[in-house]
């Protein structure tokens, strides 16, 4: 766990002011460098912005984005305050929106959902909230933006809060929601408190992001999961060193612990926990380390080491929610390469049980296929057993991607039920 590094995701469409919001966060927290600012000033002027700074231009990345005034792909941005470092996954909302939102949400601790105060709750805001919940983000911030265009009206804000609360209460997995009225364009309640909304007593966005409690599991509270990535074995025969390297996905391991290697089920004890900086008595997630084992058991890449009394599921049949990310639909009988922890397997789609309507959160009757941007419950069978947990209890051992072997594209993101 790392509490001084916060990863959050934003999503929004072209017009709801997402780029302006991020630009405002960076600018007002004094994270914009002089050469970047000069660049934005020049670009604003070229676009006829007479002496104003278009902060949205701070987040422009690619030529096509500048030309078309759109955002094409997820971008990652970095800033720091005295209290925390931040990584923003900045997700465009207009095209391939599910794919982008899911990608950004997969590594985030907090999700910032933008709502245009004039428009109120629209499909995109619901979709983002649903995806945040599905991807296991317990902390949500609802940024009600463009308050300047509704006369900073408390009534309008309250109305949006009521409407959104009615939607969110049907979402499983969201633990805290913070609603903040703001105007990113004018800088109200982003970094500095607005004087135009005295009725709002809650935190401004940056303060909230600095203070929000990241979902934290004490290393002992969570079962240890150690997917083996790599066997460290000096080739020159002079050494009998044999270590199993990987990143501890969750929980803690100690020297002497009794462990099981899955899927084989072989049991032994941890002889040593090695790192380049020396041996450790204990290690916790998300450390990368190398284990030596007491007995000469068969362990290779793709195996998972855990405590023998807290085992995950070992199975070739999976039930999972899948976000579909490519034009060619997912259908029953389809074959894909499935990548889960450090193990890959061939997978066949056995059936599609439902597809989710993000407006109503209703799950449909079994559909014929999942199309681009659809999310639905899918049954899969794999060529070799997988060692997994439900996604809701472990984001690392409960997630997988599907790869189309004809194109090598990543076509689906899966969360095991």
């Amino acid at each position: 766990m790392t509490l001084d590094l916060l990863r959050f995701t934003t999503a929004g469409s072209v017009d709801d002011g997402k780029s302006t919001l991020i630009g405002r966060l960076l600018y007002d927290s004094k994270q914009v460098f002089e050469d970047q600012l000069e660049h934005v000033a020049q670009a604003s002027e070229r676009r006829g912005g007479e002496g104003t700074l278009d902060l949205a231009l701070l987040t422009d990345g690619l030529r096509a984005e500048r030309e078309q005034g759109i955002t094409i792909d997820v971008a990652y941005r970095y800033f720091a305050t005295a209290k925390r470092r931040f990584i923003i996954a900045d997700c465009p909302g207009h095209r391939q929106y599910t794919r982008n939102m899911v990608t950004g949400a997969s590594t985030a601790d907090v999700s910032v959902v933008l709502i245009d105060a004039r428009q109120g709750v629209v499909e995109q805001s619901k979709r983002h909230a649903f995806i945040s919940a599905l991807l296991g983000i317990p902390e949500m911030v609802i940024a009600v933006n463009k308050m300047d265009l509704v006369d900073y009206s408390q009534d309008r804000f309250d109305e949006i809060v009521r409407e959104f609360s009615g939607f969110v209460e049907h979402l499983a997995g969201v633990e805290h929601i913070t609603y903040i009225p703001m105007s990113a364009l004018n800088g109200d309640n982003v970094v500095d408190r607005s004087e135009l909304m005295p009725w709002y007593a809650g935190p401004v966005l940056l303060d909230h992001l600095e203070q929000v409690e990241v979902a934290y599991d004490h290393p002992d509270a969570k079962a240890a999961r150690f997917p083996v990535q790599w066997v460290v074995r000096p080739a020159n025969g002079s050494s009998d060193y044999r270590g199993y390297a990987g990143q501890l996905a969750s929980g803690a391991l100690r020297r002497g612990d009794e462990i099981t290697v899955l899927p084989s089920g072989a049991r032994t004890r941890i002889a040593a926990i090695d790192t380049y900086d020396g041996e450790l008595e204990e290690a916790m997630a998300p450390m990368s380390l190398t284990l030596r084992l007491e007995d000469d058991v068969d362990v290779s890449r793709g195996d998972l080491i855990c405590h023998h009394d807290r085992s995950p599921v070992v199975d070739r049949e999976l039930l999972a929610d899948i976000c579909w990310m490519t034009d060619e639909p997912l259908r029953s009988g389809g074959r894909y390469l499935l990548k889960h922890t450090s193990r890959s397997a061939a997978a066949i789609v056995q059936g599609i049980d439902d597809v989710v309507d993000v407006h109503t959160l209703q799950r449909s009757d079994p559909p014929a296929e999942l199309a681009l941007n659809d999310i639905g419950r899918v049954r899969l069978r794999t060529s070799t057993p997988l060692v997994f947990d439900p996604y809701t209890s472990n984001r690392r051992t409960g997630s997988f991607i599907l790869i189309d072997e004809a194109t090598n594209s990543t076509v689906g993101a899966g969360m095991i039920a």
């Binding site: 590094l5 970047q36 660049h39 690619l62 941005r77 934290y216 990368s288 997630s399």
Partner: protein
């Protein structure tokens, strides 16, 4: 809750662990990786991460430097010493060789640079050795085209990057599948900032080339940058050579990397200076990014680092 009750990793340890995970994944899933080592601060960090990922065994890949022939001598000296210390294998791909064999045409005039030519040398070397993955030290905070780059970034058989059709990258599951002739660029430091890199160098007490610290040298001013003068440098009318106390924030070609006025003599002083700076490292020191609004994007599409 007290701090003691909430054991956690520092953000540097978390970034380190993420980077080690990436390196091991690529070593396990691709057949012929290579690590690009320039002697610069970012690739110095990569080498330490490789030690942490693979020791006590040797690295499961060689190191490679694309040498323009216009590198700072202090950096080349450092490069060779560091490689010898590690006992690893270094391949030097030389831009001079590409020029001599007619693969590229040397630019002429006072503004001549071998910066663009490197791309050809790099892609030729990748093809010649059959590399299918190349680790680089690029970071997403460096430049706006890089903010969109994946940790595993796919290159087609022309070495090109297509920013509009990148593979989605979810959780810590990386898709490194390629066909013959294609390769992936791998950026384990994607989520690091310049300050993280210096703090890590300080934490690990890593040696860096002397030009990263304040020193006096002959320079001349061009386009607002202080370039190192050496025997043979062509000056443009009105440019004068003078002594200045500088250090380098980035290590590139002498012909296109500017120094910054600085008195930072130690790692701690460099960290302090970087914490307080108001200009990005590429904006302050790299002429190659000043060519146009999308200079880096264009070079990356063509296969640049």
């Amino acid at each position: 809750m007290s701090v003691a009750a909430r054991p956690q990793l520092s953000h540097l340890r978390a970034l380190e662990s993420e980077a080690i995970h990436v390196m091991r994944e690529v070593a396990a899933e691709l057949e012929r990786p290579v690590l690009l080592f320039s002697g610069g601060k970012d690739s110095i960090v990569l080498l330490r991460l490789a030690e942490k990922a693979f020791r006590p065994a040797p690295f499961p890949f060689p190191l490679m430097h694309v040498d323009t022939g216009h590198n700072f001598p202090e950096v080349i000296e450092f490069r060779d010493r560091r490689v010898a210390e590690l006992g690893e294998r270094l391949i030097v791909a030389s831009v001079q060789d590409s020029i001599d064999s007619g693969r590229v045409l040397e630019e002429t005039g006072p503004r001549a640079s071998r910066n663009r030519l490197q791309t050809v040398t790099l892609l030729d070397a990748i093809a010649e050795h059959g590399f299918d993955a190349a680790f680089g030290g690029a970071r997403r905070d460096e430049e706006r085209a890089r903010a969109k780059e994946r940790i595993l970034s796919f290159r087609d058989d022309f070495g090109q990057w297509d920013p509009k059709s990148q593979r989605p990258e979810l959780w810590n599951l990386y898709n490194g599948r390629i066909r013959k002739g294609e390769h992936v660029r791998v950026f384990p430091l994607s989520n690091w900032t310049e300050l993280d890199v210096w703090e890590y160098i300080d934490q690990e007490q890593l040696e860096v080339p002397s030009i990263y610290f304040s020193h006096e040298r002959p320079v001349f001013q061009r386009d607002g940058m202080l370039y190192a003068w050496r025997e043979g440098t062509e000056l443009i009318d009105g440019e004068e050579v003078f002594q200045e106390t500088v250090r380098y924030r980035t290590v590139g070609d002498m012909s296109c990397t500017g120094g910054v006025r600085s008195h930072a003599l130690t790692l701690e002083e460099v960290v302090l200076e970087i914490s307080a700076t108001r200009i990005t490292e590429r904006g302050e020191t790299r002429a190659d990014d000043r060519v146009s609004e999308a200079a880096m994007e264009d070079r990356k599409k063509a296969g640049y680092f």
